[in-house]
């Protein structure tokens, strides 16, 4: 085992090892610092050369390793986790349940880092599950009703997602005649699958839950506002990218052309980009706005992936662009989320400075500053293809309108909601926030040297085109009124769905004969209770009472048949 391989192994294990600190009171006191250090090996790993290690005893024979894609993801994930932990150090100082937060934090981190170095199905699925389920604890950390509600939605959708993923993985494995579990090999086999659309759909939807595809996005705006701020940052910045990462790893982009499916993806992506902007604008919580913004941004990336399905040859160019975009979005969104945490803690700092700081990621996200410029330009550059629908590029340009609206709304909400009696800004929070803001300002070309991106400054001629849409939007907002007159609750379509479920339940309940339900029964009614079509207890009893008759009949039939045999 080389040093690099050891390091590879060490990276996801470190947070788990740090969990041991909980065994000792002194260690427990150290936990927030340790949590901050935990992603450091990952950061270092992302700068190391590509490598892999085969772990034949682990699961069904695992392969861990990195390449450029992994490195980029690892890098921004590690950065995000480090700075969010730093932020959390101060944020949770007075939280008496901080310990359990950090416990789940470390577990989620393990999952997130682990999945980024997994190159086989089982390890990936394992780490993905670990991340998903641990993050549930982060979401409901406050234990307030809205948190519990959000948590439940998150969990239900996550479980459904997991199952879709599992189905997709089964089918993917079948395409390779069950000969391999390694992503790289599966990818090459997948196009030969009989019903290619089925595994692809399963996987797209399954991971789409994480990536916030429209109609699977409801948990995002619910969970982000209720989670503690550092958790929201990693949820939206890093974990949402796990869905994207999974798509990149498993789906055979660049290997197969599926125009219909690509077109559908583009539509879905654009839908997300625009509608999420609209709904987000109608939110009242800054974090909910950011969540919709994440959905909107992920929509853009979905668009790009759809384009790759239509035109597989462009994958070479598209992949780096996507990496840049993911990087940019993760850092910017992380910084924005952290800044929400500052609105109650700015004593001693001029709020104006904070607003200036917040403007960096906000403008970057719109695409007019810092890393955003590079990301947007690269994306547009790649999508400028003749064989793609001609309306694609303008639509993407127009989507900046949605982002602008969202950022405007976000900033105004920040301003409006800032605490009149702020508390002091702890150094750690300051550091964490500022770190991300600075990284955001630096841009990907500095931080991802291996992609050989053109420097943002060299593309200055394109700037005006980037400024156009946001500018017009701002003007429109100015004239039409900055504040929406009505609101859509965060989570939008989840409410009609819940209503629908309730209606179905009551209707079905009316169909079933009612029995007196004891107090205890009601109290213990399982929280995921589904409508009871018939009273199964009764049915079962009937079956049992007829069982003996059944036995007798069976025996008789057998005897008669044996006679016939003779």
């Amino acid at each position: 085992m080389t040093f690099f391989q050891f390091w590879l192994l060490f990276t996801p294990c470190l947070p788990l090892i740090l969990l041991l600190a909980f065994l000792h009171p002194a260690g427990r006191a150290m936990i927030p610092f340790l949590a901050m250090l935990a992603p450091l090996p990952a950061l270092l790993l992302s700068f190391m050369p590509s490598q892999s290690i085969e772990l034949s005893s682990l699961f069904l024979g695992s392969l861990w390793g990195t390449d450029v894609t992994h490195n980029v993801f690892l890098r921004f994930t590690a950065l995000l986790w480090i700075f969010s932990a730093c932020f959390g150090l101060g944020y949770l100082k007075r939280d008496q349940h901080a310990n359990r937060f950090w416990l789940l934090w470390l577990m989620t981190l393990t999952g997130n880092l682990g999945l980024l170095i997994s190159q086989d199905i089982v390890s990936f699925y394992t780490f993905f599950a670990l991340m998903t389920f641990s993050a549930y604890g982060l979401v409901i950390h406050t234990r307030q009703d809205n948190a519990l509600f959000a948590g439940r939605i998150y969990l239900v959708m996550a479980v459904v997602g997991e199952m879709l993923i599992l189905a997709g993985l089964f089918l993917t494995s079948a395409a390779s005649a069950h000969s391999t579990l390694i992503f790289a090999e599966l990818k090459t086999h997948l196009p030969q699958a009989e019903n290619l659309w089925l595994p692809l759909t399963c996987l797209l939807l399954g991971f789409g839950v994480k990536a916030g595809l429209p109609f699977l996005h409801m948990w995002l705006p619910l969970a982000h506002p209720v989670a503690p701020t550092p958790a929201s940052a990693v949820l939206s910045g890093a974990m949402i990218k796990a869905g994207l990462f999974a798509w990149l790893s498993i789906l055979p982009f660049g290997l197969v052309a599926l125009p219909t499916m690509g077109l559908i993806m583009i539509f879905v992506g654009l839908l997300a980009a625009f509608v999420a902007g609209g709904i987000g604008f109608l939110q009242t919580l800054p974090k909910a706005v950011l969540a919709y913004s994440s959905i909107s941004q992920m929509g853009l990336m979905t668009c790009a992936l759809g384009a790759a399905l239509i035109l597989p040859e462009m994958w070479h160019f598209l992949l780096p662009t996507l990496l840049v975009f993911a990087f940019h979005h993760a850092i910017a969104k992380g910084a924005l989320f952290l800044s929400v945490g500052l609105k109650d803690h700015y004593r001693g700092v001029s709020f104006f400075i904070i607003v200036l700081g917040v403007l960096v990621p906000a403008l970057s996200l719109i695409g007019v500053f810092g890393s955003g410029i590079q990301a947007k330009l690269a994306l547009k550059g790649v999508l400028e293809q003749d064989s793609l629908p001609s309306w694609l590029l303008p639509s993407i340009t127009l989507s900046a309108m949605a982002t602008t609206l969202l950022m405007f709304r976000f900033l105004s909400l920040m301003w409006k909601n800032k605490s009149p009696t702020p508390s002091a800004l702890p150094l750690s929070m300051n550091l964490g926030w500022a770190g991300l803001v600075i990284i955001c300002g630096l841009g990907p070309s500095v931080l991802i040297p291996e992609l050989d991106l053109p420097s943002g400054l060299s593309q200055w001629s394109a700037y005006p085109s980037l400024l156009l849409v946001p500018g017009l939007t701002l003007i429109a907002v100015y004239f039409l009124g900055a504040y929406p007159r009505f609101q859509i609750p965060a989570g939008d379509i989840i409410y009609p769905l819940i209503k629908l479920k309730e209606v179905c339940t009551t209707q079905l309940d009316r169909l079933t004969p009612h029995k007196a339900v004891g107090v205890e029964e009601q109290a213990t009614k399982p929280s995921f209770s589904l409508p009871t079509l018939i009273t199964l207890n009764q049915a079962e009893k009937t079956i049992q009472s007829y069982l003996s008759a059944f036995f007798g009949l069976l025996t008789l039939v057998l005897i008669v048949s044996l006679y016939a045999l003779r």
Binding site: S57, A129, G137, L164, E520, L530, L536, L547
Partner: protein, 498 residues
């Protein structure tokens, strides 16, 4: 006959002799009894390890005794036998430890441990049986030795449960008896593995063969709790926790499932069974049971009842795996035999811990137990996650092989069964976990004891932790040579390449 070929007998005898000695010991000799029990369990594990090594070297030690003209009791250690025997021996040790802690200060311990050991002896016999006749003998012995355990408490409910249990299992036993007798009357005295002769018989008289198959499977389905023969299992939940653990995880349901495995692979041979179309109905029933069991589990408010229905569902995974032709499905079924055993035993241990330590029997009473009993709750969580099929717990490995096996066998619909069942599993386990970890304690615990311990007494805690750790290890290191998976692979290699 050298000493090694007698090993199967000794494996059986360790628990059998232990049972006899325990019966003869006076009730008050608790310490001595525990020592004997644990000692026998450890010796057995040692012997099993020896046997496994022998079997891995392509040997099959065999002991036989002619009991009736042309009919022998045969104990034979083949690879499949060792799978089940290994599971039983490990869980015997764990359950014994647990039971010693669980029954501390309880009456009737002599009787309990005696029958308990007898039960394990029968399980050993079932696993090592070299022909259907031997299997039948130990299968019935198992029924007999578990009955006193089910009614151990002596309450009206437990007596009623015992009656239900007997009604089901004895009827099943009778059906099995007819099946086995028919088999011997017509197909002749065939040891396990002589599938070529069975194929010949099947081709000459297909109807008789089908009837034999139906009877054999029907008889075993009762113990394996296949729908509609599952009714005894939830009722039997009144038994003490170690019994539920043993019944559900190892002895009874597994004996049924193991029997079905034997019938399909070693009596008929899977290719034959597949060609004759026996397997499809079986897989449909198993699938239905999987979904039905999960669905029913969802509606239970009692912890053990929920676990019981979960068992109904989970054991059918094994049977489903058996019906999937091709190595992958087979591996899935076989390995789930072990994995489910480990995970379910963990869950029952934990349920028992909750009941013993805090007096909790209902799910809604579990709120906040994570804080009071963190280790138990952690073990419970691992078991539950494994049941849902979340890696790295072993359940995922089984599920993966079942899913891929189904696709390889061309039965794509099975994966939707698996997915549906996983969803239901999540729906009935996650709320429990939620209550344990995320809800605050509500009022007093119903009946708290062991207050001096942070969690619960070590004898109750340690077995649960061991099995939980084993079920994680079985999943985490599934690829290693020592894992259940690799043993299942070995079996499958021998099955498909005779």
């Amino acid at each position: 006959m050298n000493i090694m070929s007698l090993l199967p007998l000794w494996v059986l005898m360790t628990s059998f002799l232990a049972a006899i000695v325990i019966f003869l010991l006076p009730e008050e000799r608790h310490r001595l009894r525990s020592t004997i029990n644990i000692g026998a369990a450890i010796i057995k594990i040692g012997l099993i390890i020896l046997l496994i090594r022998l079997v891995a070297q392509q040997e099959t030690p065999e002991v036989s005794l002619e009991v009736l003209p042309g009919l022998s009791l045969v104990l034979r250690a083949d690879a499949l036998a060792m799978l089940f025997a290994g599971l039983s021996s490990i869980l015997w040790l764990c359950t014994t430890l647990y039971a010693i802690g669980y029954l501390e200060n309880a009456p009737n311990r002599s009787r309990f441990f005696g029958y308990f050991s007898l039960c394990v002896a029968s399980t050993m016999g079932i696993s090592l049986a070299g022909n259907l006749f031997t299997f039948l003998i130990f299968y019935e012995l198992l029924t007999l030795s578990t009955y006193p355990l089910v009614v151990h408490r002596g309450t009206p409910q437990s007596l009623k449960a015992g009656r239900t249990y007997l009604a089901y299992t004895l009827s099943g036993g009778v059906v099995l008896l007819v099946g086995v007798a028919l088999f011997y009357a017509f197909a002749g005295d065939l040891a396990f593995g002589q599938t070529a002769q069975m194929a010949e018989f099947t081709h000459t008289s297909p109807i008789a063969s089908a009837i034999i198959f139906l009877l054999l499977i029907g008889g075993m389905a009762v113990k394996a709790a296949l729908f509609p023969f599952h009714g005894w299992l939830p009722t039997a939940m009144v038994a003490p926790a170690p019994v539920s653990a043993l019944l559900h995880a190892v002895a009874v349901v597994k004996a049924g499932a193991f029997g079905i495995i034997r019938v399909v692979y070693d009596v008929f041979g899977i290719e034959l069974a597949w060609q004759q179309g026996y397997l499809l109905p079986l897989s449909l029933i198993a699938s239905f049971t999987i979904l039905y069991g999960s669905w029913r589990a969802l509606q239970q408010t009692d912890i053990k009842k929920r676990l019981a229905f979960s068992t109904v569902s989970q054991v059918s995974y094994i049977i489903l795996g058996v019906t999937l032709i091709g190595p992958l499905g087979t591996i899935g079924g076989l390995v789930h035999l072990l994995h489910q055993g480990l995970m379910k035993v963990t869950l029952f241990f934990c349920a028992g811990n909750y009941a013993e330590t805090l007096g909790i029997h209902k799910i809604h009473e579990l709120n906040g137990t994570g804080k009071r009993m963190p280790m138990t709750s952690a073990a419970f969580t691992l078991g539950a996650l494994g049941m849902i099929g979340i890696p790295p717990v072993a359940g995922f490995i089984s599920k993966w092989y079942l899913g891929t096996g189904a696709l390889a066998a061309g039965m794509d619909w099975v994966i939707w069964v698996l997915i549906g069942s996983s969803l239901l599993n999540a729906a009935y386990f996650l709320p429990v976990l939620y209550r344990i970890w995320f809800l605050p304690q509500q009022g007093q615990w119903p009946h708290e004891s062991f207050t001096q311990w942070r969690d619960t007494i070590p004898l109750l805690l340690i077995p649960a932790l061991i099995t939980a750790a084993l079920s994680v290890a079985a999943g985490l290191f599934a690829g290693s040579d020592l894992s259940p998976l690799s043993w299942a692979r070995l079996i499958v290699i021998r099955e498909y390449q005779p």
